[in-house]
Symmetry: C2
Subunit: 350 residues, 2 copies
């Protein structure tokens, strides 16, 4: 008997699920409830308080789906994380994750939800899946990627979106990204200042951002009057593992001597250091090394890793604020973010 009562009471509670239910209880119209819950000044303070309290008591939440349908706004941003299909670089790439975290925080700050997808699994047609189908009001695309036709498709479909990456000459969309060329320049100039003469570049210049860092490398070399030695560029995926392998291959083979390494990411650099350790190569005395990103780990390696810091906080803030502006149809511009050289032990003898 008691059990039955309990069930009935639960069921009753479960039926209170729509504005209309609350309206009936409050003896006002549905519209009034709707307005009251949104704090619309059209309804008197008294009714507002009353309705809000009633809703709270009954644990009522407005159905977001219905609201979205009616208002034609989802208050959701789809964040697409692109990864290279071939490498093992996974969603755990520390730099991207940090960025993702900032974006998440920033979006919630503006009352937006975040729909997350990784490219590996995403459908090919972002425009249709996310925008046309009204799953999201806008898109943020991150990931150190190569030129992706899907992005072009978005641009031509008039979807509000911003990209984390490099600015292109003939871009027709908005890009937020670090000043990679300057970063590369700073890194290599630093090594040169420390006396390095033969500096390896480790990274894959097929990626647009990394190509910029390569250009920065060249800038610094040119400035110092160092000649460009093509064999010093080692194509390397963005993983510690590949960093380890590539430097191993290089040093084991018959190649020009090197006294410095610019790795395009800290993860690569840490892999490289692993190998150098194994081979008892002194860092930085024999080979100095510098990374890129300033991931959390870099301060805790031994020796700690000199690197070029990307400003993830500003990055996240800008990505979000720009895409929201774009949604409001305001004009937005691409932006290059400053980078900062962080000198640690891997390039500086103590």
């Amino acid at each position: 008997m008691f059990a039955e009562y309990a069930i009935i009471s639960v069921m009753k509670e479960k039926t209170i699920k729509t504005l209309a239910d609350i309206a009936k209880m409050a003896n006002v119209s549905q519209s009034t409830v709707s307005r009251a819950l949104r704090n619309n000044p059209l309804v008197s303070q008294k009714t507002r308080d009353f309705v809000q309290q009633l809703a709270q008591e009954h644990n009522f939440s407005v159905n977001a789906t219905a609201s979205k349908l009616r208002t034609q706004k989802t208050h959701t941003i789809a964040v697409i994380v692109m990864f290279d299909q071939n490498t093992e670089q996974s969603i755990s790439d520390p730099f991207l994750m940090k960025l993702l975290g900032t974006i998440a925080d920033e979006l919630t700050k503006f009352g937006y939800d975040m729909l997350l997808t990784t490219t590996k699994t995403a459908t090919g047609d972002w425009n249709n899946y996310y925008f046309e189908s009204r799953r999201a009001d806008g898109l943020i695309i991150v990931g150190q990627g190569e030129h992706d036709p899907r992005i072009e498709a978005l641009a031509s479909n008039n979807v509000p979106f911003v990209v984390w990456g490099t600015e292109f000459a003939n871009k027709n969309y908005t890009t937020i990204g670090s000043d990679n060329r300057k970063g590369g320049y700073l890194a290599v100039k630093h090594l040169i200042d420390k006396g390095c003469k033969n500096i390896a570049f480790m990274g894959d210049i097929e990626h647009n951002e990394l190509e910029q860092r390569w250009l920065g490398y060249q800038d610094a070399c040119a400035e110092a009057g160092l000649e460009l030695e093509p064999t010093l560029r080692l194509k390397t995926d963005l993983t510690s593992n590949d960093g380890y392998l590539q430097i191993k291959n290089y040093l084991e083979g018959k190649h020009p001597k090197i006294d410095g390494i610019f790795a395009v990411s800290d993860t690569i650099a840490l892999g490289v250091m692993k190998y150098l350790h194994e081979q008892k190569v002194a860092i930085p005395e024999e080979i100095a090394i510098i990374g890129f990103d300033d991931i959390a780990m870099s301060a805790f390696s031994s020796p700690s890793l000199t690197t070029v810091r990307q400003n993830t906080t500003t990055a996240g803030e800008l990505l979000v604020s720009k895409v929201l502006k774009k949604i409001e149809n305001k004009p937005i511009e691409s932006k290059l973010l400053e980078v900062e050289l962080i000198v640690r032990q891997s390039s500086e003898q103590t």
Copy 2:
């Protein structure tokens, strides 16, 4: 003139946005279009093909919001990542990120979208925000957390959800988690086997999962007849930074000597190793060290880090499959996952 035509044509294209539009073009009813696009066998193959092609040509996607409203299913799972408010442990915690990646992949495999939130910014009322308001069909909660009242609230509200973490005695919800106690046991037993007699435990046993690892520590000690020395437990946050600081404090102060360290996470362990390096303490000769998680970096530290691997892949798969089952109202059970000892240099003299 030409420009005007162009604009008009664009506008025209933009008006094709609903089933009704397609229906008109195809000269069939809305219902037929709806069925055709979902490949419903009720409509003839011919019409299906025709309508589908028409839709594709016009770049039409069904409005997901309307569909959700009508079907009362969102095909979305909210993933809530909890972080300790006090520590700096951020969304970039490598282990959680790895887990998140698996969850993301797994969800898309089942055609579900993933709504991501971090606790720091999330509203307090998960039930209302995500479930009652129909933003998601179910929830997955991850994060090495302390006992959280919000989880209890979910359970009593009959929301479909699963938690990554520890199973409790009086749990009334489903939990997927590693066998932390066994992991702790394996770790410490390993150190003991290697000859360690005074093993520090670094972690915060306020966290349920970590408490289990602490119990495992005790199991191993008891088995080996080692007496439990309370001062050997160093309360440490899940960051490299705190690992560094805590071991520094300990070793600088007047404390019992130690010859082994069990850190509850690899990030802590890496911070610890940093300090030991600085102090020229030989690893593992003077102090052996073992971590937990097996994050990517652990294989690339010097020395490489012995650790207890958590199976993120299975974890992600289970979390997803269980929550989906729960949504279908099928009964689900908690599950403890096997862990694996990964022996590397930090505990094994070469």
